[in-house]
Amino acid sequence: MTARPRRPARTLRSVACWLLALAATAFFLFPIYWMAASSLKTENDVATYPPLWSFTPSLHSYRQLFEEMSALDALVNSCLIVGMATGLAMIAGTLAAYAMARFDIKGKNFLAFEVLSIRMLPPIVSVIPLFIIAKQLGIFDTPWLLIAAYTLSGLPFVVWVMRVFIQEIPQSIEEAALIDGCSRYQAFWRVTLPLLLPGLAATMVIVFMFAWNEFLLASILTSREAKTLPVIAANAIKPKAISFGLASAAGVLMSLPVVVLVLMMQRYLVRGLTLGAVKG
């Protein structure tokens, strides 16, 4: 009975919090809605003031994107480059993470931090030597250069995050398998790896996302053949003639895979994003 006078106040507070949350959600959602809407407007509808809220959706911008901007080539390039780089970084990084998690290695922590320091390297610093080396080796404007660069920038994530995931699997499980007559290789393949799958998938999504979104290196290290999607999208914005519908369509096209992938993997993702340093 004594609690009754407090109840309206509590309800009021809940409603206030709910409205606050709704406002925050609207703030974060609105630009995404606007991008999607702009991509479906015709050239005239995008440049109308006051802005159009209801319009007949048209796929014109998307068609133009594929027909005039060779977006399909860029999409193929992006998939190839990012796919290869993600795969290589995952394989090399997981092996290294396993070594760091399971063996006593001299200078282990130094190695780990050296790997982490790559994360601090601004791409603009390494782009000049990569540019020069690529010109000399004749691999400028080929996918190989970007594959190498993205593999490198993905490695720190993989090593750090997979180390934590591996450490969480008790070593005794592997030892039991060794005693049962498995080789170390078999113990890893049959016992540890299946337990690691969620961690591997989450890490892969993050590495994929960062490489997929990368623009600076891609814009400088490619000129025609190896262009990726962000480069195509940036090309739609020229100082004089900006094609808003086209640029928005490119934005949607390259953001969609990441959004879908990450929202699917949400549960495992936080530890990955924090380099495995924080339990999530």
Partner: protein, 317 residues
């Protein structure tokens, strides 16, 4: 009697296991080799090459000009480069403000969404989306929304009776506009990390605070925040590293203008390197930037005990 065979079996297995291990002395190095190879070839070697270039006057597009070794000239020139100083200062201001504002919003959002009201799960998922959008797409979208004459932002302002703003088109408001975009995109990242940290906190300190009669504000400042510190430190460090190299959105929206008011260091370096093709000088500036970033990260790490946070985690496992 019954225990004896078991013990013998265990010893045998032990011996077998250690024999396997003795033969595997080099296994960790084999496992580490691919990573070290990639790091050396793609990471360290280009970096050292760039250090060498920074002592030359390499200008591949101007073959008539001298290209050779110039010693410390580039570095001496860099210290007198007011534009470089300006871009470093801008980057510093941008980083501090962007991380501080995003952190504040993120903590508030995390506390808010921790209330578990109906519909919060869906809203929380929606809030995450900005950090997943490709930065180039973010730049495009905000540039369209911030157009002074056609943009939807000024239209929305006019609905509530506020005058049209120049957003990224004026020297005075361009940096603030870039901050708005950055905060919009990266608050979700800090939010989800801090939210996860909040969910993982033990209940008992909150119960103790409630018994002691602490109000919500006191509980927040004296219980919640201190316990969240490790999470906040990690999220901030990662955000600081990334904010210092902000490029994509600024490149799309302002290209460093108007009148250099958003000329962050990455944008300036891009201009020196690939518009003027002054690669020797650009390499020197890159190295100075790298040293500055490392110094700031190290100071942050020392001040916050970041390493200890990680070491503690390691020890507990």
């Amino acid at each position: 009697m019954a225990e004896l065979p078991a013990t013998a079996g265990l010893e045998k297995a032990d011996r077998r296991a250690s024999a396997v291990r003795a033969g595997e002395k080099y296994v960790p190095w084999v496992l580490l080799a691919p990573t070290m190879l990639i790091m050396t070839i793609v990471g360290i070697f280009p970096l050292l090459h760039s250090l060498y270039i920074s002592f030359t006057s390499l200008r591949p597009t101007e073959v008539d000009k001298p290209q050779g070794w110039v010693g410390l000239d580039n570095y001496i020139q860099a210290f007198g480069d007011a534009q470089f100083g300006h871009s470093l200062l801008l980057t510093g201001i941008f980083t501090i403000l962007s991380v501080a504002i995003a952190l504040t919003f993120a903590v508030l959002l995390a506390v808010l969404f921790n209330l578990r009201l109906p519909g919060f799960l869906a809203m929380r998922t929606i809030v995450l989306v900005p950090m997943l959008i490709t930065p180039i797409a973010v730049g495009i979208t905000w540039r369209i929304m911030m157009m002074p004459d056609l943009g939807v932002l000024n239209f929305l302002l006019s609905l509530v009776g506020i005058d049209a703003q120049p957003w990224a088109n004026s020297k005075t408001s361009a940096l603030a506009a870039m901050l708005l975009v950055d905060v919009w995109q990266w608050t979700p990242f800090m939010f989800i990390v801090i939210f996860a940290g909040l969910r993982a906190l033990p209940r008992s300190p909150f119960e103790a605070a409630a018994i002691d009669g602490a109000g919500p504000l006191r509980t927040f400042f004296w219980v919640t925040l201190p316990m969240l510190k490790p999470v906040i430190v990690v999220a901030s460090l990662l955000r600081i590293i990334d904010a210092m190299r902000t490029y994509d959105t600024v490149y799309i929206i302002t290209r460093g203008g108007p009148d250099f008011s958003t000329d962050l260091v990455s944008v300036y370096l891009q201009r020196v390197n690939f518009k003027f093709f002054d690669l020797g000088y650009g390499a020197a500036l890159s190295w100075l930037t790298l040293v500055a970033i490392l110094a700031i990260v190290l100071i942050f790490v020392k001040l916050t005990g970041f390493m200890k946070t990680i070491a503690d985690k390691g020890a507990r496992r």
